[in-house]
């Protein structure tokens, strides 16, 4: 699941102490201009300036800038994301899911059989 979270979002949590996160989840540097507009139509010329010398080497981790996409921003230190591995799917959980499906199938067969027997269309009693 964490893989689905954008790198920018992950970086928002470790990109610097009190830097505000933009709506797209990237961190706005204090030396940066205002975050990209929500429309994302910002031209490359408005991209944030280079980070200050005091800042760690920037790493571009956001999505590649496009004409219509959000402007990339510089970020703080490279985030090392520790993905929490989902608990391994146990055989029991998988088996129970199979049983759920089998019972649903069984319900369908029972319902259809009951309907056939109750209303044998054309096979008038």
């Amino acid at each position: 699941m964490l893989a689905a979270i954008s790198a920018g979002t992950l970086l928002a949590g470790c990109g610097g102490g009190n830097q505000p996160a933009t709506s797209s989840g990237v961190v706005a540097s204090s030396a940066s201009p205002a975050p990209a507009a929500a429309t994302g139509a910002e031209a490359p010329a408005t991209e944030p300036a280079a980070p200050s010398a005091t800042e760690p080497a920037p790493t571009t981790t956001g999505p590649a800038p496009t004409a219509t996409g959000p402007a990339p921003t510089t970020t703080g230190p490279v985030a090392t994301t520790t993905t929490t591995t989902a608990a391994p799917t146990s055989g029991i959980d998988q088996g129970l899911a199979d049983i759920d499906r089998a019972l649903a199938d069984l319900d369908t067969h029972l319902t259809d059989a009951d309907r056939d027997v109750a209303t044998p269309e054309g096979d008038i009693r």
Binding site: S90, I92, D98, D105, E121, G122, D123, R125
Partner: protein, 256 residues
């Protein structure tokens, strides 16, 4: 034609047949046959011919709704993952035989020139085949039974895993008294459900249209058995989930 349309069409055809030949006892014991009255200036010969053509049309329509239903059921049967090979072969053979009989009847009905013969052939569509009353529900019951048997086997596997998890939890010092009781109950329900489902194929595979004609409730015991199996398996499934949740705090270490 989708199932709903097929069934609606079948109902309309069935109703139409009853209207045209009210005395033709399609399913029950034979009743006296009354002929349609003639009207006005129409000659008896014209009336008979019209009655014959009306009946022929309706009887062919009755076959036309049954053949696709049989074909659709056979297709679904071949794609089912639960039905055993033996049961599939038996059911498919029954579907094929029924379809063949209906096709033969269609040819006979097209060739009929006598009302009495046509009525006999039309009656045969129902009395000698029982597509909707017996053939199709039998397929559903057997496939349902095999589905239940499959589910019972899977629940057995789950029970074995749970037993292992319980043993590990006990070895780790946990109180697993309730889990053990639940597991025993789960196993009992699996056995009961599997046994109930196991009776169904044998109870219905040998039934003939004549059996249904003699007793319209001939499928009822099998339906009840399958329902009982379903109830048992559901309880077993719920117990498995309960036990699993009881052991869950140790799930990571127990790898249940």
């Amino acid at each position: 034609m989708n199932p709903v349309r097929t069934r609606l069409a079948a109902a309309l055809v069935g109703a139409g047949l009853v209207i045209v030949t009210p005395a033709a006892a399609w399913a029950g014991p034979r009743r006296p046959v009354s002929t349609a009255s003639t009207t006005g200036s129409e000659s008896p010969a014209d009336s008979t011919r019209r009655t014959l053509e009306d009946l022929r049309t309706r009887c062919l329509a009755a076959i036309d709704v049954r053949l696709p239903a049989l074909a659709a059921t056979k297709k679904a049967l071949s794609g089912n993952d639960h039905v055993t090979d033996d049961h599939e072969a038996a059911l498919a053979a029954d579907l094929d035989r029924t379809a063949a009989r209906l096709r033969e009847l269609a040819e006979a009905i097209k060739a009929d020139t006598e009302l009495a013969a046509l009525r006999d052939h039309c009656r045969s569509i129902f009395e000698d085949n029982r597509v909707f009353a017996l053939v199709l529900p039998r397929v559903r019951l057997v496939v349902g039974a095999d589905t239940a048997t499959d589910a019972g086997a899977k629940l057995g596997d789950i029970a074995a895993r749970l037993a292992d998890a319980i043993a590990k939890a006990e070895a780790a010092g946990r109180d697993v008294t309730q889990a053990k009781l639940d597991l025993d109950l789960m196993k009992a329900h699996i056995a009961s459900g599997t046994a109930s489902a196991g009776t169904v194929p044998g109870a219905v595979l040998g039934l003939t249209p004549a059996d249904w004609n003699a007793d319209h409730e001939v499928l009822t015991p099998a339906r009840q058995s399958l329902r009982s199996a379903r109830a048992d398996l559901e309880v077993a499934r719920d117990l498995a989930r309960k036990i699993r949740n009881e052991l869950k705090p140790l799930a990571g270490s127990l790898q249940v």
